[in-house]
């Protein structure tokens, strides 16, 4: 059982910087999710920890031991690959026992551990089969089982669910979370899917272009993003951004955007004082834009006159694409909404849940 520390870790492939000065402290037993768009360096960060890539500079520690020059097999970690990487010529049993055999574990113990892992994952009846005789979901379980039997200090998972169909993915997602709870081990999980990140992670680390943008619990990440990238990446549909200008006075501040001028709530004016009269980016999540006729009680929804461009009915809600002074944005309305395509309606902005970002640094103004 061990924590993992990335200390100023940088990885370069020639001219390309894949991981740029990464600092991350993963305490023991945490489920950390590394998330980001493809090519952001999250998989490289994981492979550095596994020892499959060499670190250009910096240090990685597993349970306070620097592992920069430790061979992958001696790092006491197990990894589940996106492709599962099962040994095609071995039975499921041999696949799971391979690592233990190489470590010269006594035979009865191997047997016991493989059987136990198979039972946890519900694959006892598959032990004699070859990987090619298994379905995608079963192969995925075997890959998990191969990691479990090793009883490693840290589990690494590289997009293990991306090859499963949607239904199986949801199911396996929950199972991996349960597995983490029962094993009480550190998990580091790489994904590009923000739903997986939100549902599974104890904490989430968001990466972009090799740079760690923010590390926090899912709820904090969602409610208080540090910058525009995190704000836009987490949440679906993504947060709406407007190019706006702050006007008025420090006491009565207004945000002027395309087709609207709204009063900034008093609790936010203090932080924004320095930007008065300047241009800022104004962000609001789709669920904070309501149909004013059906806005939930207790919310002060400021009216914005908009034109309905497109509506998408999702069943429990409607995604409404709105136009305000030809700037397009999305609102999540209750299905009872009277919004019809081509009609003009008053959208209500919940000013209690809005975000302001500096235009040049893209950081949240706090």
């Amino acid at each position: 059982m061990a924590g993992v520390i990335y200390d100023h870790v940088t990885k370069r492939f020639g001219e390309v910087v894949a991981v740029n000065d990464m600092n991350l402290d993963v305490p023991d037993k945490e489920f950390l999710v590394l998330v980001g768009p493809s090519g952001c360096g999250k998989t490289t960060a994981l492979r550095l920890l596994a020892g499959l890539e060499e670190i250009t500079s910096g240090e990685i520690k597993i349970s306070d031991r620097v592992v920069n020059d430790v061979a992958p097999k001696d790092r006491d970690i197990a990894m589940v690959f996106q492709s599962y990487a099962l040994y095609p010529h071995m039975s499921v049993y041999d696949n799971m026992a391979f690592g233990l055999k190489l470590r010269k574990t006594p035979k009865p113990e191997i047997d016991q551990r493989v059987k136990d892992a198979a039972e946890i994952l519900g694959i006892e009846m598959l032990l004699d089969r070859k990987p090619r005789q298994l379905s995608g979901g079963q192969r995925q379980r075997v890959a998990l089982g191969r990691a479990i039997v090793r009883n490693p200090q840290v589990f690494l998972m590289d997009e293990p669910l991306s090859n499963l169909d949607a239904k199986l993915r949801v199911q396996t997602r929950a199972e991996i979370s349960k597995l983490h709870q029962s094993l009480q081990t550190t998990f580091i999980y790489v994904t590009h899917d923000q739903t997986e990140a939100m549902t599974m992670g104890t904490r989430i680390a968001v990466m972009k272009d090799g740079i760690l943008k923010q590390v926090d619990t899912p709820q904090k990440l969602y409610d208080h993003p540090d910058n525009m990238f995190v704000a836009g990446f987490i949440g679906s549909p993504a947060m709406n951004f407007f190019e706006t200008k702050l006007s008025g006075t420090a006491e009565e501040m207004y945000v002027e955007g395309p087709g609207f001028k709204l009063r900034v709530p008093p609790d936010k004016t203090k932080a924004l004082k320095g930007h008065l009269g300047k241009e800022v980016v104004f962000g609001i999540r789709p669920e904070d834009i309501h149909d004013r006729d059906f806005a939930p009680p207790g919310i002060t929804a400021e009216p914005v006159t908009t034109m309905v461009d497109v509506t998408e009915l999702m069943g429990s809600e409607v995604y409404v694409y709105l136009l305000s002074d030809s700037k397009s944005f999305i609102g999540r309305f209750a299905p009872r909404t009277s919004a019809r395509v081509g009609k003009q309606i008053d959208a209500g902005f919940d000013m209690g849940n809005v975000h302001f970002f500096d235009r040049s640094s893209e950081k949240t103004i706090r």
Partner: protein
């Protein structure tokens, strides 16, 4: 049957015709060779292999000329019974037979109105008489050619007869030790095996090691070294015959198996490494990384993962290398020559020294074909690459 299906069948028809044609082009000569090798040499010299099931030689001429009086079985005239060896023995050849036929028989011409046979026809009749009288009975098929070829028999008759009568040549013992007679195909077969098996296994093992290293071990100037090896493939074998022959003379390797093993291994390696590297390099990287994380060293990953997975590549490489060595004459001639004759060397000798020894040549050809055919048919399923199914999400 619907129009669609007929159209479909007609659409495939040209392909099928071409395929059948190709099969025929290959199979008919091979079949002819096989039949020829199984016929007595006297038959081979007088008629083509396609007549093997036709009526025996001379039977037609006999029924035209003799059967009207002597009967179709030759027994109609009791005092001139054609099935009696003593009667027939007086006319062993066409000249004696014709001379007897020209004499009057009881004041009448022997043949009466029947026209006198041409000399060739008379020879055929004489041959037929020998057959029905039991003086010289030749079966349609015989294994004698194979026995002769294997034992290295070089006489006018055949090995079995000569041994039975004790007239065998000095170098034959008429027991199983004759299989090792240096002039025979049996010994040559053994020599060919002693050349081909090590020359197949050695380069494959070395190439597997090298292929793994080039694919999965990072070392300096890996790309350049590999490019150099690929480049070595274009070195013509003939160019090296003289320098290597001189080198072998100094090392005392000429005419030894070790010499030819080294030569074939050296010339087989560049291509074998090239092929093995490309195959091993095409295996999923995740598999090897997974093994390293599981605790495997390069050595373990090679034996437990790379080698079992590359069985299809090993098999096809093995088949081609084996066939090339087995069929090679040039290298064997230069480095082994007559000291340790291989199959190809023996066959080439038969053509030159015996000229018309078709019966031995065809049998020898089939002896040398046997093993490649067994190898090919037993390993051909490995040509289909199905081993990787299930390794990664396909």
């Amino acid at each position: 049957m619907s129009v669609e299906r007929i159209k479909k069948i007609l659409g495939h028809l040209p392909t099928h015709i071409v395929l059948i044609g190709l099969c025929a082009i290959w199979l008919i000569p091979a079949f002819g060779l096989l039949i020829t090798s199984l016929r007595p040499f006297q038959n081979i010299n007088t008629s083509g292999w396609w007549t093997v099931l036709a009526a025996p030689r001379g039977s037609e001429e006999y029924s035209q000329t003799c059967a009207s009086c002597h009967g179709s079985d030759g027994k109609a005239i009791a005092w001139a019974d054609h099935t009696d060896p003593e009667v027939v023995q007086q006319y062993p050849r066409s000249i004696k037979l014709l001379a007897m036929l020209k004499q009057d028989h009881k004041g009448q011409p022997h043949l009466g109105d029947i026209p006198m046979p041409e000399p060739q026809q008379a020879a055929d009749i004489a041959d037929y008489l020998k057959r029905i009288s039991g003086i010289e009975v030749r079966p349609r098929f015989t294994l004698n050619n194979y026995v002769d070829a294997l034992m290295g028999y070089r006489g006018r008759n055949n090995y079995v007869t000569d041994c039975a009568t004790g007239e065998q040549a000095l170098d034959l013992n008429c027991d199983t030790s004759d299989l090792l007679n240096p002039r025979g195909m049996g010994r040559a077969f053994l020599n060919s095996l002693l050349v081909a098996i090590p020359c197949t296994i050695l380069p494959i093992i070395l190439a597997s090691f090298a292929g793994y290293a080039f694919s999965w071990i990072h070392f300096r100037s890996r790309v350049w070294l590999f490019a150099l090896l690929v480049g070595l493939q274009i070195v013509p074998l003939q160019m090296t015959l003289i320098p290597i022959s001189r080198l072998y003379a100094q090392l005392g390797l000429n005419g030894t198996f070790l010499g030819i093993w080294l030569f074939h291994t050296g010339f087989g390696l560049p291509y074998a490494i090239y092929l093995m590297r490309n195959f091993l390099g095409s295996l999923p990287r995740d598999l090897f990384e997974s093994a390293y994380l599981d605790g495997a060293s390069h050595w373990t990953a090679f034996w437990r993962l790379a080698l079992p997975l590359s069985v299809p590549a090993l098999a096809s490489l093995g088949i081609f290398q084996f066939l090339w060595i087995w069929n090679d004459l040039l290298v064997a001639l230069v480095f082994l020559g007559g000291q340790k004759p291989v199959l190809t060397y023996q066959i080439s000798n038969m053509v030159s020294s015996l000229g018309a020894g078709w019966h031995l040549l065809t049998a020898a050809a089939f002896i040398s074909m046997a093993l490649p055919m067994i190898v090919f048919f037993s390993l051909q399923r490995y040509f289909v690459r199905g081993m990787l199914a299930g390794a990664v999400k396909g």
